[in-house]
Protein backbone atom coordinates (compact mmCIF):
# COMPACT_ATOMS: atom_id res chain seq x y z
CA UNK A 1 0.00 0.00 0.00
CA UNK A 2 1.28 3.49 -0.82
CA UNK A 3 2.17 5.96 1.84
CA UNK A 4 0.05 9.02 2.48
CA UNK A 5 2.09 11.96 3.70
CA UNK A 6 0.56 13.94 6.55
CA UNK A 7 2.11 17.24 7.62
CA UNK A 8 2.14 17.39 11.41
CA UNK A 9 1.02 20.59 13.13
CA UNK A 10 2.50 20.91 16.57
CA UNK A 11 3.00 23.54 19.25
CA UNK A 12 5.53 23.06 22.05
CA UNK A 13 5.76 19.34 21.48
CA UNK A 14 2.02 18.87 21.35
CA UNK A 15 0.28 17.61 18.25
CA UNK A 16 -2.80 19.56 17.17
CA UNK A 17 -6.11 17.75 16.93
CA UNK A 18 -6.33 18.55 13.21
CA UNK A 19 -3.30 16.31 12.63
CA UNK A 20 -5.04 13.33 14.22
CA UNK A 21 -7.96 14.01 11.90
CA UNK A 22 -5.59 13.98 8.91
CA UNK A 23 -4.05 10.68 10.04
CA UNK A 24 -7.55 9.20 10.36
CA UNK A 25 -8.43 10.38 6.85
CA UNK A 26 -5.08 9.12 5.53
CA UNK A 27 -5.85 5.58 6.69
CA UNK A 28 -8.66 5.42 4.13
CA UNK A 29 -6.21 6.18 1.34
CA UNK A 30 -3.08 4.23 2.27
CA UNK A 31 -0.44 4.03 4.98
CA UNK A 32 -0.25 7.21 7.05
CA UNK A 33 3.26 8.64 7.18
CA UNK A 34 3.61 11.66 9.47
CA UNK A 35 6.05 14.41 8.50
CA UNK A 36 7.47 16.39 11.41
CA UNK A 37 9.25 19.64 10.60
CA UNK A 38 10.56 21.47 13.63
CA UNK A 39 13.29 22.13 16.15
CA UNK A 40 15.72 19.41 17.06
CA UNK A 41 14.03 17.01 19.48
CA UNK A 42 10.45 17.61 18.32
CA UNK A 43 9.84 14.18 16.78
CA UNK A 44 10.72 12.28 19.94
CA UNK A 45 8.05 14.27 21.78
CA UNK A 46 5.28 13.70 19.25
CA UNK A 47 6.03 10.24 17.87
CA UNK A 48 3.92 8.24 20.32
CA UNK A 49 0.88 10.43 19.80
CA UNK A 50 1.23 10.08 16.03
CA UNK A 51 1.50 6.29 16.28
CA UNK A 52 -1.63 6.22 18.41
CA UNK A 53 -3.52 7.60 15.44
CA UNK A 54 -2.09 5.15 12.97
CA UNK A 55 1.19 6.63 11.71
CA UNK A 56 3.38 3.75 10.60
CA UNK A 57 6.22 6.06 9.74
CA UNK A 58 7.46 9.35 11.10
CA UNK A 59 9.65 11.41 8.79
CA UNK A 60 11.79 13.83 10.73
CA UNK A 61 13.13 17.11 9.37
CA UNK A 62 14.68 18.87 12.34
CA UNK A 63 17.01 21.86 12.32
CA UNK A 64 17.28 25.49 13.37
CA UNK A 65 16.37 26.57 9.85
CA UNK A 66 13.18 24.51 10.09
CA UNK A 67 11.88 26.86 12.78
CA UNK A 68 13.56 30.09 11.72
CA UNK A 69 12.06 30.31 8.23
CA UNK A 70 8.45 30.69 7.20
CA UNK A 71 6.60 27.99 5.24
CA UNK A 72 9.44 26.94 2.90
CA UNK A 73 11.06 24.34 5.22
CA UNK A 74 7.75 22.46 5.28
CA UNK A 75 7.45 22.73 1.51
CA UNK A 76 11.02 21.48 1.12
CA UNK A 77 10.38 18.48 3.37
CA UNK A 78 7.14 17.45 1.67
CA UNK A 79 8.42 17.99 -1.86
CA UNK A 80 11.58 15.99 -1.10
CA UNK A 81 9.53 13.12 0.30
CA UNK A 82 6.97 13.22 -2.50
CA UNK A 83 9.85 12.68 -4.93
CA UNK A 84 11.28 9.85 -2.82
CA UNK A 85 8.22 7.77 -1.92
CA UNK A 86 5.60 8.61 -4.60
CA UNK A 87 2.80 8.90 -2.05
CA UNK A 88 -0.88 8.23 -2.80
CA UNK A 89 -1.65 11.72 -1.51
CA UNK A 90 -0.31 14.55 0.62
CA UNK A 91 -2.69 15.73 3.35
CA UNK A 92 -2.30 19.08 5.06
CA UNK A 93 -4.60 20.91 7.44
CA UNK A 94 -6.52 23.80 5.82
CA UNK A 95 -5.10 26.26 8.34
CA UNK A 96 -3.70 29.60 7.18
CA UNK A 97 -0.22 28.16 6.95
CA UNK A 98 -1.35 24.75 5.74
CA UNK A 99 -3.04 26.29 2.71
CA UNK A 100 0.16 28.12 1.83
CA UNK A 101 2.34 25.05 2.25
CA UNK A 102 -0.05 22.96 0.16
CA UNK A 103 -0.18 25.43 -2.72
CA UNK A 104 3.60 25.62 -2.94
CA UNK A 105 4.08 21.86 -2.67
CA UNK A 106 1.55 21.29 -5.45
CA UNK A 107 3.26 23.59 -7.97
CA UNK A 108 6.68 22.37 -7.00
CA UNK A 109 5.81 18.72 -7.64
CA UNK A 110 3.59 19.56 -10.65
CA UNK A 111 0.45 18.24 -9.03
CA UNK A 112 -3.15 19.25 -8.69
CA UNK A 113 -4.42 20.81 -5.47
CA UNK A 114 -7.75 20.29 -3.73
CA UNK A 115 -8.45 22.92 -1.11
CA UNK A 116 -10.45 22.81 2.07
CA UNK A 117 -12.08 19.40 1.64
CA UNK A 118 -14.50 18.18 4.29
CA UNK A 119 -14.11 14.53 3.33
CA UNK A 120 -11.79 12.30 1.31
CA UNK A 121 -12.28 8.80 0.02
CA UNK A 122 -10.72 6.37 -2.37
CA UNK A 123 -12.70 5.58 -5.50
CA UNK A 124 -10.89 3.01 -7.64
CA UNK A 125 -7.50 4.54 -8.36
CA UNK A 126 -8.68 8.04 -7.61
CA UNK A 127 -8.63 10.06 -4.46
CA UNK A 128 -11.88 12.01 -4.33
CA UNK A 129 -12.34 15.06 -2.12
CA UNK A 130 -15.65 16.58 -1.06
CA UNK A 131 -15.80 20.35 -0.73
CA UNK A 132 -18.49 22.45 0.85
CA UNK A 133 -18.35 25.85 -0.81
CA UNK A 134 -20.03 29.25 -0.60
CA UNK A 135 -20.55 28.79 3.10
CA UNK A 136 -22.07 25.35 2.71
CA UNK A 137 -24.45 26.27 -0.13
CA UNK A 138 -22.91 23.79 -2.57
CA UNK A 139 -21.36 20.37 -2.21
CA UNK A 140 -18.74 19.49 -4.82
CA UNK A 141 -16.79 16.29 -5.39
CA UNK A 142 -13.46 16.63 -7.19
CA UNK A 143 -10.33 14.71 -7.94
CA UNK A 144 -6.82 15.58 -8.92
CA UNK A 145 -6.14 14.67 -12.53
CA UNK A 146 -2.40 15.41 -12.65
CA UNK A 147 0.34 14.19 -10.34
CA UNK A 148 0.04 13.40 -6.64
CA UNK A 149 -3.14 14.73 -5.01
CA UNK A 150 -2.19 17.53 -2.62
CA UNK A 151 -5.18 18.11 -0.35
CA UNK A 152 -5.97 20.51 2.45
CA UNK A 153 -8.57 19.23 4.90
CA UNK A 154 -10.80 21.54 6.92
CA UNK A 155 -10.10 21.17 10.64
CA UNK A 156 -12.98 19.55 12.47
CA UNK A 157 -14.54 18.04 9.35
CA UNK A 158 -13.15 14.50 9.67
CA UNK A 159 -13.40 12.67 12.95
CA UNK A 160 -10.13 11.71 14.66
CA UNK A 161 -10.16 8.01 15.49
CA UNK A 162 -7.31 6.37 17.35
CA UNK A 163 -5.73 3.26 15.79
CA UNK A 164 -2.59 2.04 17.48
CA UNK A 165 0.37 1.51 15.12
CA UNK A 166 4.09 1.10 15.41
CA UNK A 167 5.95 3.98 13.82
CA UNK A 168 9.45 3.79 12.43
CA UNK A 169 11.51 6.95 12.21
CA UNK A 170 13.35 8.21 9.16
CA UNK A 171 15.37 11.40 8.78
CA UNK A 172 14.79 13.91 5.98
CA UNK A 173 17.61 16.28 5.07
CA UNK A 174 16.40 19.81 4.34
CA UNK A 175 18.14 21.68 1.50
CA UNK A 176 20.17 24.78 2.35
CA UNK A 177 18.13 27.98 2.67
CA UNK A 178 18.38 30.47 -0.20
CA UNK A 179 18.24 33.83 1.63
CA UNK A 180 16.97 35.68 -1.45
CA UNK A 181 13.89 33.48 -1.60
CA UNK A 182 13.23 32.76 2.04
CA UNK A 183 11.53 34.70 4.82
CA UNK A 184 13.18 34.71 8.20
CA UNK A 185 11.15 34.60 11.42
CA UNK A 186 13.00 37.08 13.63
CA UNK A 187 10.78 36.73 16.68
CA UNK A 188 7.55 35.23 17.90
CA UNK A 189 4.86 36.43 20.25
CA UNK A 190 2.97 33.22 20.90
CA UNK A 191 -0.75 33.66 21.44
CA UNK A 192 -1.57 33.21 25.09
CA UNK A 193 -3.26 29.86 25.02
CA UNK A 194 -6.41 30.21 27.07
CA UNK A 195 -8.18 27.36 28.79
CA UNK A 196 -10.78 27.18 26.06
CA UNK A 197 -10.57 24.84 23.06
CA UNK A 198 -9.48 26.34 19.77
CA UNK A 199 -12.32 27.85 17.77
CA UNK A 200 -11.98 25.63 14.70
CA UNK A 201 -11.46 22.51 16.79
CA UNK A 202 -14.19 22.98 19.38
CA UNK A 203 -17.28 20.79 19.39
CA UNK A 204 -19.28 23.61 20.96
CA UNK A 205 -19.02 27.27 19.91
CA UNK A 206 -20.90 30.09 21.63
CA UNK A 207 -20.76 33.34 19.66
CA UNK A 208 -21.80 36.86 20.51
CA UNK A 209 -22.81 39.65 18.18
CA UNK A 210 -23.45 43.36 18.33
CA UNK A 211 -26.38 42.57 20.61
CA UNK A 212 -23.92 41.77 23.39
CA UNK A 213 -23.33 45.49 23.57
CA UNK A 214 -19.85 45.80 25.09
CA UNK A 215 -16.56 44.07 25.78
CA UNK A 216 -17.48 43.64 29.45
CA UNK A 217 -20.79 42.02 28.54
CA UNK A 218 -18.95 39.34 26.57
CA UNK A 219 -18.45 37.68 29.95
CA UNK A 220 -22.02 36.43 29.50
CA UNK A 221 -20.94 34.65 26.31
CA UNK A 222 -17.75 33.33 27.91
CA UNK A 223 -19.57 31.92 30.93
CA UNK A 224 -21.94 29.93 28.76
CA UNK A 225 -19.05 28.70 26.59
CA UNK A 226 -17.14 27.61 29.70
CA UNK A 227 -20.15 25.81 31.14
CA UNK A 228 -20.40 23.85 27.88
CA UNK A 229 -16.64 23.35 27.54
CA UNK A 230 -16.78 25.28 24.28
CA UNK A 231 -14.98 28.02 22.40
CA UNK A 232 -16.08 31.65 22.10
CA UNK A 233 -16.76 33.24 18.73
CA UNK A 234 -17.91 36.67 17.60
CA UNK A 235 -19.61 38.32 14.65
CA UNK A 236 -17.72 40.90 12.65
CA UNK A 237 -19.90 43.66 14.05
CA UNK A 238 -18.84 42.60 17.57
CA UNK A 239 -15.20 42.50 16.51
CA UNK A 240 -15.38 45.84 14.71
CA UNK A 241 -17.00 47.40 17.77
CA UNK A 242 -14.03 46.23 19.83
CA UNK A 243 -16.02 43.79 21.97
CA UNK A 244 -13.86 40.79 21.13
CA UNK A 245 -10.51 40.16 19.39
CA UNK A 246 -10.39 39.61 15.66
CA UNK A 247 -9.04 36.06 15.74
CA UNK A 248 -12.40 34.93 17.12
CA UNK A 249 -14.43 36.26 14.21
CA UNK A 250 -16.69 33.68 12.60
CA UNK A 251 -17.80 34.10 9.01
CA UNK A 252 -16.74 34.68 5.50
CA UNK A 253 -13.75 36.80 6.44
CA UNK A 254 -13.20 35.00 9.72
CA UNK A 255 -13.14 31.38 10.80
CA UNK A 256 -15.24 28.61 9.36
CA UNK A 257 -16.51 26.39 12.12
CA UNK A 258 -18.45 23.10 11.98
CA UNK A 259 -19.11 22.25 15.62
CA UNK A 260 -21.71 19.84 16.98
CA UNK A 261 -23.43 22.82 18.58
CA UNK A 262 -23.34 26.52 17.66
CA UNK A 263 -25.10 29.03 19.89
CA UNK A 264 -25.59 32.53 18.46
CA UNK A 265 -26.32 35.27 21.00
CA UNK A 266 -27.41 38.67 19.69
CA UNK A 267 -26.36 37.89 16.13
CA UNK A 268 -28.69 38.82 13.29
CA UNK A 269 -27.42 36.11 10.93
CA UNK A 270 -26.13 38.06 7.93
CA UNK A 271 -25.14 35.92 4.95
CA UNK A 272 -21.45 36.57 5.62
CA UNK A 273 -21.79 35.33 9.18
CA UNK A 274 -23.72 32.25 8.13
CA UNK A 275 -20.99 31.41 5.65
CA UNK A 276 -18.78 30.55 8.58
CA UNK A 277 -21.16 28.53 10.72
CA UNK A 278 -24.06 27.03 8.83
CA UNK A 279 -22.44 23.63 8.55
CA UNK A 280 -22.72 23.28 12.33
CA UNK A 281 -24.71 20.16 13.26
CA UNK A 282 -27.11 21.99 15.58
CA UNK A 283 -27.71 25.74 15.71
CA UNK A 284 -29.35 27.52 18.62
CA UNK A 285 -30.11 31.25 18.45
CA UNK A 286 -31.17 33.87 20.96
CA UNK A 287 -32.27 37.20 19.54
CA UNK A 288 -34.82 39.73 20.66
CA UNK A 289 -35.93 40.39 17.10
CA UNK A 290 -38.32 37.65 15.95
CA UNK A 291 -37.54 38.61 12.35
CA UNK A 292 -33.76 38.10 12.62
CA UNK A 293 -32.57 35.91 9.72
CA UNK A 294 -30.58 33.70 12.11
CA UNK A 295 -33.89 32.06 13.02
CA UNK A 296 -34.26 30.83 9.43
CA UNK A 297 -31.40 28.42 10.00
CA UNK A 298 -31.65 27.79 13.73
CA UNK A 299 -32.78 24.37 14.92
CA UNK A 300 -33.93 25.95 18.14
CA UNK A 301 -34.55 29.65 18.57
CA UNK A 302 -35.55 31.78 21.51
CA UNK A 303 -36.99 35.23 20.89
CA UNK A 304 -35.80 37.11 23.92
CA UNK A 305 -33.12 39.09 25.68
CA UNK A 306 -29.81 37.30 25.69
CA UNK A 307 -29.00 38.80 29.10
CA UNK A 308 -31.98 36.91 30.52
CA UNK A 309 -31.71 33.72 28.51
CA UNK A 310 -27.97 33.02 28.42
CA UNK A 311 -27.30 33.23 32.19
CA UNK A 312 -30.28 30.98 32.84
CA UNK A 313 -28.96 28.48 30.31
CA UNK A 314 -25.50 28.66 31.88
CA UNK A 315 -27.03 27.86 35.24
CA UNK A 316 -29.06 24.94 33.85
CA UNK A 317 -26.03 23.49 32.11
CA UNK A 318 -23.87 23.83 35.22
CA UNK A 319 -26.60 22.17 37.29
CA UNK A 320 -26.98 19.25 34.91
CA UNK A 321 -23.27 18.73 34.56
CA UNK A 322 -23.07 19.02 38.32
Amino acid sequence: MSEVLVLVEHVDGEVKKATFELLSAARRLGEPAAVVVGAVGTASKVKDALARYGATKVYVAESDDAVNYLVTPKVDALATLAGRVSPAAVLISASLEGKEVAGRVAVRIDSGLLVDVVDVERSGDDVVGTQSIFGGGFVVKSKVSTGTPVITVRPGAVEAEAAEAVATEETVELPAVDPARATRITSREPAVAGDRPELTEASVVVSGGRGVGSAENFAVVERLADALGGAVGASRAAVDSGYYPHQFQVGQTGKTVSPQLYIALGISGAIQHRAGMQTAKTIVAVNKDAEAPIFEIADFGVVGDLFQVAPQLTEEVTKRRG
Binding site: V140, P179, T186
Partner: protein
Amino acid sequence: MNIVVLVKLVPDTYSERKLSDTDHTLDRDSADAVLDEINERAVEEALQLKEAHGGEVTALCVGPDRAVDAVRKALQMGADKAVHVSDAALHGSDVITTAKVLAKAVGTIDGVDLVIAGNEASDGRAGAVPAILAELLGLPQLTHANKVTVEGDTITVERATDDGVLHLQATLPALVSVSEKINEPRYPSFKGIMAAKKKPITTLTVADLGLDPAGVGLSGAWTAVLEAAPKPPRTAGERVEDNGDGGTKIAEYLVGQKLI
Protein backbone atom coordinates in the same frame (compact mmCIF):
# COMPACT_ATOMS: atom_id res chain seq x y z
CA MET B 1 9.82 51.39 -5.18
CA ASN B 2 7.85 49.65 -7.88
CA ILE B 3 4.85 47.82 -6.54
CA VAL B 4 2.45 45.46 -8.27
CA VAL B 5 -0.84 45.03 -6.50
CA LEU B 6 -3.04 42.07 -7.36
CA VAL B 7 -6.71 42.85 -7.59
CA LYS B 8 -9.59 40.56 -8.22
CA LEU B 9 -13.24 41.06 -9.04
CA VAL B 10 -15.50 38.83 -6.99
CA PRO B 11 -19.24 38.23 -6.86
CA ASP B 12 -20.76 40.45 -4.20
CA THR B 13 -21.46 38.24 -1.22
CA TYR B 14 -24.75 39.98 -0.61
CA SER B 15 -26.10 38.53 -3.84
CA GLU B 16 -26.74 34.85 -4.40
CA ARG B 17 -23.72 32.88 -5.52
CA LYS B 18 -24.11 29.71 -7.52
CA LEU B 19 -22.31 27.37 -9.84
CA SER B 20 -23.20 27.14 -13.49
CA ASP B 21 -25.19 24.03 -14.38
CA THR B 22 -23.12 23.18 -17.40
CA ASP B 23 -19.50 23.12 -16.29
CA HIS B 24 -19.57 23.64 -12.51
CA THR B 25 -17.61 26.88 -12.71
CA LEU B 26 -18.57 29.94 -10.76
CA ASP B 27 -21.56 31.54 -12.44
CA ARG B 28 -20.08 35.03 -12.50
CA ASP B 29 -23.03 36.53 -14.34
CA SER B 30 -25.56 35.55 -11.70
CA ALA B 31 -24.18 37.89 -9.06
CA ASP B 32 -23.17 41.53 -8.87
CA ALA B 33 -19.44 41.95 -9.00
CA VAL B 34 -17.21 44.11 -6.83
CA LEU B 35 -13.52 44.66 -6.16
CA ASP B 36 -12.78 42.21 -3.36
CA GLU B 37 -12.70 44.13 -0.12
CA ILE B 38 -9.34 42.70 0.92
CA ASN B 39 -7.86 44.00 -2.33
CA GLU B 40 -8.87 47.54 -1.44
CA ARG B 41 -6.62 47.09 1.57
CA ALA B 42 -3.84 45.74 -0.64
CA VAL B 43 -4.14 48.81 -2.87
CA GLU B 44 -4.17 51.08 0.17
CA GLU B 45 -0.98 49.50 1.51
CA ALA B 46 0.70 49.86 -1.89
CA LEU B 47 -0.27 53.53 -2.02
CA GLN B 48 1.02 54.19 1.49
CA LEU B 49 4.35 52.56 0.66
CA LYS B 50 4.58 54.58 -2.53
CA GLU B 51 3.81 57.77 -0.61
CA ALA B 52 6.64 56.94 1.80
CA HIS B 53 9.22 55.66 -0.64
CA GLY B 54 8.29 56.96 -4.08
CA GLY B 55 7.95 54.74 -7.13
CA GLU B 56 4.98 53.43 -9.04
CA VAL B 57 1.97 51.24 -8.32
CA THR B 58 0.67 48.90 -11.02
CA ALA B 59 -2.64 47.10 -10.51
CA LEU B 60 -2.74 43.61 -12.01
CA CYS B 61 -5.86 41.58 -12.60
CA VAL B 62 -6.56 38.26 -14.25
CA GLY B 63 -10.21 37.95 -15.06
CA PRO B 64 -12.96 38.41 -17.65
CA ASP B 65 -13.55 41.71 -19.45
CA ARG B 66 -15.80 43.13 -16.81
CA ALA B 67 -13.07 42.61 -14.20
CA VAL B 68 -11.77 45.87 -15.62
CA ASP B 69 -14.04 47.44 -13.00
CA ALA B 70 -11.75 46.09 -10.29
CA VAL B 71 -8.78 47.55 -12.11
CA ARG B 72 -10.49 50.89 -12.49
CA LYS B 73 -11.32 51.09 -8.80
CA ALA B 74 -7.62 50.59 -8.03
CA LEU B 75 -6.70 53.36 -10.47
CA GLN B 76 -9.30 55.66 -8.91
CA MET B 77 -7.82 55.03 -5.48
CA GLY B 78 -4.44 56.11 -6.85
CA ALA B 79 -2.62 53.31 -8.66
CA ASP B 80 -0.62 54.66 -11.62
CA LYS B 81 -1.32 52.07 -14.28
CA ALA B 82 -2.80 48.65 -14.77
CA VAL B 83 -2.36 45.33 -16.52
CA HIS B 84 -5.46 43.28 -17.21
CA VAL B 85 -5.13 39.72 -18.49
CA SER B 86 -8.40 38.76 -20.12
CA ASP B 87 -8.92 35.70 -22.26
CA ALA B 88 -11.86 33.37 -22.83
CA ALA B 89 -9.38 30.50 -22.54
CA LEU B 90 -8.97 31.31 -18.84
CA HIS B 91 -12.55 30.35 -18.01
CA GLY B 92 -12.51 27.71 -15.27
CA SER B 93 -8.85 28.11 -14.26
CA ASP B 94 -7.90 26.60 -10.92
CA VAL B 95 -5.72 28.31 -8.30
CA ILE B 96 -2.46 26.97 -9.69
CA THR B 97 -3.22 28.08 -13.22
CA THR B 98 -4.33 31.49 -11.98
CA ALA B 99 -1.05 31.84 -10.10
CA LYS B 100 0.92 30.79 -13.19
CA VAL B 101 -0.80 33.41 -15.31
CA LEU B 102 -0.24 36.04 -12.62
CA ALA B 103 3.44 35.07 -12.43
CA LYS B 104 3.86 35.53 -16.18
CA ALA B 105 2.02 38.83 -16.05
CA VAL B 106 4.19 40.13 -13.20
CA GLY B 107 7.11 39.25 -15.47
CA THR B 108 5.90 41.79 -18.06
CA ILE B 109 6.32 44.64 -15.56
CA ASP B 110 9.82 46.07 -15.22
CA GLY B 111 11.83 46.29 -12.02
CA VAL B 112 9.25 44.97 -9.57
CA ASP B 113 10.35 45.41 -5.94
CA LEU B 114 7.20 44.28 -4.23
CA VAL B 115 4.07 42.31 -5.09
CA ILE B 116 1.10 42.90 -2.78
CA ALA B 117 -1.97 40.66 -2.70
CA GLY B 118 -4.93 40.08 -0.44
CA ASN B 119 -4.51 37.12 1.89
CA GLU B 120 -7.65 35.33 0.84
CA ALA B 121 -10.32 36.05 -1.73
CA SER B 122 -13.96 35.90 -0.71
CA ASP B 123 -15.07 33.73 -3.64
CA GLY B 124 -12.68 30.82 -3.80
CA ARG B 125 -11.24 31.22 -0.31
CA ALA B 126 -8.20 29.33 -1.55
CA GLY B 127 -5.84 31.54 0.41
CA ALA B 128 -3.08 30.03 -1.65
CA VAL B 129 -2.48 32.28 -4.65
CA PRO B 130 0.04 34.55 -2.89
CA ALA B 131 2.13 31.62 -1.61
CA ILE B 132 2.04 29.84 -4.97
CA LEU B 133 3.02 33.05 -6.70
CA ALA B 134 5.99 33.46 -4.36
CA GLU B 135 7.04 29.91 -5.23
CA LEU B 136 6.78 30.57 -8.96
CA LEU B 137 8.52 33.95 -8.86
CA GLY B 138 11.19 32.76 -6.44
CA LEU B 139 10.35 35.56 -4.02
CA PRO B 140 10.27 35.46 -0.23
CA GLN B 141 6.66 35.37 1.00
CA LEU B 142 5.61 37.66 3.83
CA THR B 143 1.95 36.75 4.04
CA HIS B 144 -0.99 37.60 6.30
CA ALA B 145 0.58 40.92 7.14
CA ASN B 146 -0.90 43.19 9.77
CA LYS B 147 1.92 45.67 9.34
CA VAL B 148 4.53 46.27 6.64
CA THR B 149 7.75 48.29 6.96
CA VAL B 150 10.37 48.81 4.28
CA GLU B 151 13.85 50.16 5.01
CA GLY B 152 16.39 50.10 2.22
CA ASP B 153 16.01 46.67 0.69
CA THR B 154 14.85 45.06 3.92
CA ILE B 155 11.18 44.39 4.42
CA THR B 156 9.67 43.47 7.76
CA VAL B 157 6.15 42.28 8.38
CA GLU B 158 4.00 41.36 11.34
CA ARG B 159 2.14 38.18 10.52
CA ALA B 160 -0.85 37.48 12.71
CA THR B 161 -2.21 33.96 12.94
CA ASP B 162 -3.92 31.89 15.62
CA ASP B 163 -0.58 30.83 16.99
CA GLY B 164 0.33 34.43 17.70
CA VAL B 165 2.30 37.14 15.96
CA LEU B 166 5.38 36.33 13.92
CA HIS B 167 7.88 39.01 13.03
CA LEU B 168 9.14 38.34 9.53
CA GLN B 169 12.05 39.73 7.59
CA ALA B 170 13.26 39.34 4.03
CA THR B 171 15.09 41.13 1.26
CA LEU B 172 13.39 42.88 -1.64
CA PRO B 173 12.11 41.91 -4.14
CA ALA B 174 9.43 40.17 -2.12
CA LEU B 175 5.76 39.26 -1.98
CA VAL B 176 3.32 40.40 0.69
CA SER B 177 -0.28 39.46 1.36
CA VAL B 178 -2.32 41.70 3.62
CA SER B 179 -4.87 40.79 6.28
CA GLU B 180 -8.21 42.38 7.02
CA LYS B 181 -6.73 44.34 9.92
CA ILE B 182 -3.88 46.09 8.11
CA ASN B 183 -5.49 49.44 7.25
CA GLU B 184 -8.65 51.29 6.31
CA PRO B 185 -8.80 51.74 2.55
CA ARG B 186 -9.37 55.25 1.24
CA TYR B 187 -12.34 56.21 -0.91
CA PRO B 188 -11.54 57.43 -4.40
CA SER B 189 -11.79 61.22 -4.51
CA PHE B 190 -13.58 63.02 -7.32
CA LYS B 191 -10.16 64.04 -8.62
CA GLY B 192 -9.01 60.44 -8.42
CA ILE B 193 -12.03 59.26 -10.38
CA MET B 194 -11.39 61.83 -13.12
CA ALA B 195 -7.64 61.11 -13.22
CA ALA B 196 -8.24 57.37 -13.50
CA LYS B 197 -9.89 57.85 -16.88
CA LYS B 198 -6.56 58.85 -18.39
CA LYS B 199 -4.43 56.16 -16.73
CA PRO B 200 -3.13 53.42 -19.01
CA ILE B 201 -4.57 49.89 -18.86
CA THR B 202 -2.62 47.28 -20.79
CA THR B 203 -4.81 44.37 -21.84
CA LEU B 204 -3.07 41.07 -22.48
CA THR B 205 -4.15 37.64 -23.69
CA VAL B 206 -2.75 34.31 -22.61
CA ALA B 207 -0.81 34.07 -25.87
CA ASP B 208 0.70 37.53 -25.20
CA LEU B 209 2.17 36.01 -22.05
CA GLY B 210 3.69 33.13 -23.97
CA LEU B 211 1.34 30.58 -22.46
CA ASP B 212 -0.48 27.87 -24.36
CA PRO B 213 -4.24 28.56 -24.21
CA ALA B 214 -4.86 24.79 -24.04
CA GLY B 215 -2.83 24.64 -20.83
CA VAL B 216 -5.04 27.10 -18.96
CA GLY B 217 -8.72 27.25 -18.08
CA LEU B 218 -10.96 24.27 -17.57
CA SER B 219 -9.08 22.06 -20.04
CA GLY B 220 -5.72 22.79 -18.46
CA ALA B 221 -6.80 22.34 -14.87
CA TRP B 222 -5.06 19.68 -12.81
CA THR B 223 -8.19 19.00 -10.88
CA ALA B 224 -11.58 17.90 -12.17
CA VAL B 225 -15.01 18.38 -10.67
CA LEU B 226 -16.88 15.07 -10.67
CA GLU B 227 -20.20 16.31 -9.38
CA ALA B 228 -21.67 19.42 -7.80
CA ALA B 229 -25.02 19.91 -6.15
CA PRO B 230 -26.66 22.70 -4.23
CA LYS B 231 -27.17 21.67 -0.66
CA PRO B 232 -30.76 21.81 0.48
CA PRO B 233 -30.95 25.00 2.52
CA ARG B 234 -31.19 24.61 6.26
CA THR B 235 -34.71 24.98 7.48
CA ALA B 236 -35.93 26.76 10.54
CA GLY B 237 -36.61 24.51 13.49
CA GLU B 238 -38.58 25.27 16.59
CA ARG B 239 -38.85 28.86 17.82
CA VAL B 240 -40.21 29.98 21.16
CA GLU B 241 -40.79 33.29 22.92
CA ASP B 242 -38.93 33.81 26.14
CA ASN B 243 -41.40 33.92 29.01
CA GLY B 244 -38.77 33.86 31.68
CA ASP B 245 -37.90 30.25 30.91
CA GLY B 246 -35.99 30.63 27.61
CA GLY B 247 -32.72 29.35 29.05
CA THR B 248 -34.41 26.33 30.59
CA LYS B 249 -36.14 25.58 27.29
CA ILE B 250 -32.82 25.58 25.46
CA ALA B 251 -31.33 23.31 28.12
CA GLU B 252 -34.22 20.88 27.68
CA TYR B 253 -33.78 20.95 23.92
CA LEU B 254 -30.06 20.24 24.27
CA VAL B 255 -30.73 17.36 26.60
CA GLY B 256 -33.23 15.98 24.09
CA GLN B 257 -30.55 16.20 21.40
CA LYS B 258 -28.05 14.52 23.74
CA LEU B 259 -25.85 17.60 23.47
CA ILE B 260 -25.60 17.98 27.23
